[in-house]
């Protein structure tokens, strides 16, 4: 599904990500963990086209997508959430999701503005889909509320369903459990497995604390100072001395 080939990202003298190689198969849930500043978010940003990697190539479904524009990447089927939540602040909950449905609606500015019959049909479908998504995270009663007035945990879930509204096949989640309590985190992990099954997704998930994702990930990659220091299944990772050292050094 996704493969990166020796991807490096340098900012001036700082190498945020070096020689990054991941390979993810369809329907896997893979973790990307590492201490603060390890380069996890930067790795996401190169995959989603926010940055063009300094070196290396990125392949999605066998196609070279290195350096493609972010909206193109999304169109091809990679959606993401942000570590520092980026909801549309002057829009309500439903509108936030509806923005993301536009991509698959295939209507132009003319048909949209003049509310042509074809547009109205697609708009109705989009609203139904958005409501269905909002229902899956228990937000149907808050559709008219301002998105940023929601409690933190709900904002994170709204961001996930907003990403789902683009109908992705690969979902990248940047610390989705940040700021949640243990109970909420557990529910979230169940939810992530649930959407994987329901929407036939492949998921790459960043997490700071490896315990959180142990239960859901089949494999993990561990970054430290941009370097992939370990890779394997959860029990292998837990036993890896390099990983233990990296985490002891920081936490």
């Amino acid at each position: 599904m996704l493969r990166t080939d020796s991807v490096s990202m340098r900012f001036g003298g700082l190498t945020a990500v070096a020689d990054f190689n991941v390979q993810i198969e369809k329907n896997e849930i893979v973790g990307l963990i590492g201490p603060n500043g390890a380069g996890k978010t930067t790795a996401f940003n190169t995959i989603t086209g926010v940055y063009k990697p300094t070196e290396g190539k990125i392949f999605f479904k066998g196609k070279d997508v290195t350096g493609a524009k972010p909206h193109h990447i999304t169109e091809m089927g990679i959606a993401r959430t942000f570590q520092n939540i980026r909801l549309f602040k002057d829009m309500n909950v439903l509108e936030n999701v509806l923005v993301a449905t536009h991509l698959r609606m295939d209507v132009g500015v003319f048909a949209s503005t003049f509310h042509l019959p074809g547009y109205l049909r697609k708009e109705k479908q989009a609203r139904e889909f958005a409501m269905e998504l909002l229902e899956s995270v228990g937000l149907t009663n808050q559709t008219e509320e301002s998105a940023i007035s929601l409690p933190y945990g709900k904002q994170r879930r709204l961001e996930i369903v907003r990403a789902l509204a683009t109908k992705p096949s690969l979902l990248l989640l940047d610390e989705p459990a940040a700021g949640m309590n243990p109970q909420e985190t557990l529910e979230l992990m169940d939810f992530i497995v649930g959407i994987r099954d329901r929407f036939d997704l492949t998921i790459l998930l960043i997490e700071h604390h490896m315990q959180v994702v142990m239960g859901v990930c089949s494999r993990m990659y561990v970054l430290d100072y941009g370097i992939t220091i370990a890779h394997g299944n959860p029990s292998e990772i837990q036993a890896n001395p390099k990983v233990i050292e990296a985490y002891l050094g920081v936490d």
Binding site: H71, D90, M105
Partner: protein, 352 residues
């Protein structure tokens, strides 16, 4: 919207039409001019608000697009005889000398020409970082003025155009103001409109949701230019004389003032702002005239009016950072809440 509010809105609409109709019939020519100027400023403010308030792009080129619209429509509607009279220094280019099209068609072409110029400017300028856009559009507006001044056989240069057919009657300008408002409401409430607002709120998130941010910005810029062109054309057909000096930065500034005063990102705010500013501009005209107060005499302080205006803007910005309406639209619940605040009525629950 519930039934009661629907009825209120319908009544407000009828009252509005009546006021315009009665004004047109009974007011003196000076007052009718203010009435009509308000409508034109509504069109201009709405078109600028689409950029500044709804797309989050700061442009200073509005006067340039107005100039394009005004010249195109004027040249397309003047009779060949009027053209010969105007172009007495340098004759008009032959292909333009005998063209004369109906007003509505001229207006449409004026808007399309402005939109096309908008595309030419927008496509490169919108690739720049947002803060450079203001500089680029400012430069463009000046270039348009220089071009118009120097393209004598096409525009009659610095002499400008006189005796433009006076087609901008009260019903025409208010009709177009209503049309512009309706167009923008429809656009902004549509799926495409949501992507415009998404770009304003967070470009990075919008891109990640598959929104082609550059494309959306260009589209918004072109639509804004179209309506600026139409507004400029209507202005020309109202005051019947145009020249390049008219379309300067001050004109853009006045429109920006309306947008900020009324509320960035509020359609009803721009409408309200346009009426307030136009009426005040004329009502305060006496400030620039010689004054004879009891204790002292002035010989007229040209520019005092603008000082008062700038002060007004400062007060609004200081006390209501987001303009009179903020980014909200007018609603009847708002009136009810306002009445509650000043103690006339119990507060209306759940208004928005």
């Amino acid at each position: 919207m519930n039934k009661k509010n629907l009825i209120r809105s319908a009544i407000a609409l009828v009252v509005g039409i009546l006021v315009i109709g009665l004004g047109d019939a009974f007011l003196g020519s000076f007052a009718v001019r203010i009435l009509n100027l308000s409508a034109i400023y509504i069109i201009l403010a709405l078109s600028l608000n689409l950029l500044v308030g709804f797309t989050g792009l700061f442009s200073l080129g509005h006067a340039g697009f107005m100039a394009v619209g005004a010249y195109v429509s004027a040249l397309l509607t003047m009779t060949p005889a009027q053209k010969t009279m105007n172009f007495f220094l340098t004759p008009i280019v032959p292909w333009l000398a005998n063209i004369q099209v109906p007003f509505i068609l001229a207006l449409l072409i004026a808007g399309l020409c402005a939109a096309f110029v908008g595309l030419l400017i927008g496509a490169p300028a919108l690739r720049l970082r947002d803060d450079y856009l203001a500089i680029a559009t400012l430069g463009f507006a000046e270039i348009i003025r220089v071009l118009i001044t120097n393209a004598q056989p096409l525009t009659n240069g610095a002499q400008g155009l006189k005796a433009i057919p006076k087609y901008s009657t009260t019903w025409v300008v208010w009709g177009f103001a209503a049309l512009t408002a309706a167009f923008l409401v429809m656009l902004l409430r549509s799926s495409y409109g949501r992507t415009i607002k998404a770009v304003r709120d967070d470009e990075i998130a919008a891109e990640a949701m598959g929104v082609n941010v550059f494309r959306v910005k260009v589209t918004s810029f072109v639509i804004s230019s179209f309506w600026a062109g139409v507004g400029g054309a209507l202005l020309g057909h109202m005051i019947t004389t145009i020249d390049p000096k008219m379309f300067n930065l001050i004109l853009t500034f006045n429109i920006l003032l309306i947008v900020v005063l009324g509320g960035n990102g509020s359609i009803t705010g721009s409408i309200l702002g346009a009426i307030i500013v136009t009426v005040m501009m004329e009502a305060l005209r006496f400030l620039d005239m010689p004054m004879n107060l009891i204790f002292f005499k002035t010989n007229g302080l040209p520019g005092l009016r603008m000082v008062i205006f700038s002060l007004m803007l400062m007060v609004v910005v200081l006390y209501r950072q987001r303009g009179l309406m903020g980014n909200k639209e007018f609603s009847w619940d708002m009136v009810a809440n306002l009445r509650a605040v000043i103690g006339l009525k119990p507060r209306n629950k759940g208004g928005r």
